[in-house]
Amino acid sequence: MRFNLTRGVVLTIYAVIILVPLAVVFFGSFKTTPELFDSPFGLPSSISFDNYDTVLNEQNLSQAFLNSVLVTCSSVALTLFIGSLAAYATARIPGWPGWLIFGFLVLGMTVPAQANMIPQYALFNQLGLLDSRIGLVIINVVVGLPVAVFILGGFMKTLPREAYEASSLDGAGPLRTYWSIVLPMSKPSLAATAIFLFVIQWNDLLYPLLFISSDSKKTIPLALLDFQGQFLTDYPLLFTGVVIASLPMAITYVLLQRYFVAGITAGAVKG
């Protein structure tokens, strides 16, 4: 009885602590600064999209949004493709070579970004890949690969051997087996990996901050960081940026919650 009472109280308080800030930000994006300071917890007196107009058009967050969509989608697709090819091979190559390749690729999970970002910057500089969205895609793929191989390879090792063998008896080469047997059977782990990469790369600030200097190539988190200097206390504009940056994730989360939990938990070991 006492347990249930404590449980109810704790859960209610925590729900309020999570929900209220989110609601204040969301409703605040429709308010003017005086209105927000006057009644931060209240509903907006009218639904005005002025802040959205300012942020998207005058501050050009729409360009940043587009950049984020382009960079994130290409990075996730490429990482999944290259990663699943490698994962499939490591799951099938017998003996130590398979393990060696798997272990080598997965080892990257233990290296924090700060440990190699400086030489990476110098390398990208040499190759002319700084201040380029292609450069961002490359670094995202490289950084995402170890986790992708870890999750996908772990899953593919559990697939029944018969599935691979039946297909090769039918005369299918490895590419065919990969495309028509392995990928379809790996859908749940592909989805989890995709979600994990999607969240990490959509929200990533470090690499855009290091690599991107032109306003026209900035991604959402970086463009949002720039707001700080400009609108020191114009919270409604900051909030509008936050809502725009978070909306794609929030919507996907509501639709695919199961995969989010699976993906983020599976990737939780990423160092």
Partner: protein, 321 residues
């Protein structure tokens, strides 16, 4: 679907290639059967990984012994000079290290306890539990900059939510300037971090708790063990793998709370909120490539050491009960 116990499995298997029962048998049966073209499949991954990841990691070691600024064609080798300066005479690095340790300690202890508590309350798969889990997990999918701006408003000394709530309930004496208070700022960042990621750790604990056989609790109940006794005798030892993952991951996260700090403090980060990852970035931004590379190696070694030490401490408490 990899579960939370996956890392255990994978390191174990990786340690004994071909010696495991299944892999040995499978290896023999498979030998000669795989198409040679399969060996081409990992090549794209290996190629970009070697060029853009493995080699830069090794180069960091090389840079760490130089005074390279990142742009000049020539630089001097300074041997271990960078390391010496970092560990003996760099107030900025020591400040970042101290801040980072305070931050880590608060986050690891409170977030873990908190996440475990929530997990215990939400372990049953009822509709209400599922909904609340979904809500508590939600902040994890937001970007750090978004979370930082949300909390900037909460902490705003003049108009912020926190002071307003305190005034409303008659606790004016506890109002504060939060991030503006140099000695306390890092702890306020820690609270934001807990709000941000407790739900994620809760989910890992729920997976761990659900794997504990219900019969154990039934037997304990018959033996007359109270809730607390059940927790210390059954739950805590049984969820050891989940706890180890949560603690390690939380630690790593708290060393890498780079984006959150930049969002809350502005760029470059303020002295009171500077942690190791932001310090390395600042060194890099100031064109001290060699020096920052040396800092980053210490950073990496430090994370590894802390995670290993925690494993030992956790093992000890779990054996104890």
């Amino acid at each position: 679907m990899p579960t939370t116990t996956e890392p255990e499995w994978s390191t174990e298997s990786a340690r004994s290639p071909g010696h495991g029962r299944t892999s040995g048998r499978r290896g023999r049966r498979r030998a000669g059967r795989v198409h040679p073209a399969l060996y081409l499949f990992p090549l794209p991954a290996l190629a970009i990984y070697v060029v853009f990841f493995a080699m830069p990691t090794l180069q960091a070691v090389q840079y760490s012994g130089t005074n390279w600024d990142g742009f000049s064609a020539d630089y001097d080798n300074v041997g271990l000079g960078n390391f010496e300066r970092i560990l003996t005479g760099d107030d900025l690095f020591m400040n970042a290290l101290t801040n980072n340790l305070k931050f880590m300690l608060v986050v690891v202890v409170f977030q873990t306890i908190f996440a475990l508590g929530l997990a215990i309350f939400l372990v049953k798969n009822t509709t209400a539990s599922t909904l609340l889990r979904g809500l508590f997990f939600f902040p994890t999918v937001l970007s750090s900059v978004s979370v930082a701006y949300t909390w900037k408003f909460i902490y705003d000394p003049n108009f912020g939510l926190a002071n307003r709530v305190l005034e409303f309930v008659g606790l004016e004496q506890f109002t504060s300037s939060y991030l503006g208070n140099d000695t306390a700022a890092i702890y306020w960042v820690a609270i934001t971090q807990i709000w941000f990621h407790a739900g994620q750790m809760m989910v890992i604990f729920i997976a761990g708790l659900q794997s504990v056989p219900a019969e154990l609790y039934e037997v304990a109940e018959i033996d007359g063990a109270g809730k607390w006794k059940q927790f210390t005798a059954i739950t805590w030892p049984m969820i050891a793998p989940a706890t180890a993952i949560v603690v390690a991951y939380t630690t790593i996260q708290s060393f890498k709370a780079f984006d959150l700090i930049l969002g809350l403090s502005g760029n470059p980060p303020r002295y009171s909120m500077d942690i190791l990852s932001t310090r390395i970035y600042t060194g890099f931004a100031n064109s001290e490539f060699g020096y920052a590379a040396a800092e980053s190696l210490i950073f990496m070694a430090f994370i590894a050491a802390v995670v290993l030490a925690q494993r030992r401490i956790l093992k000890f408490t779990q054996k104890d009960v």
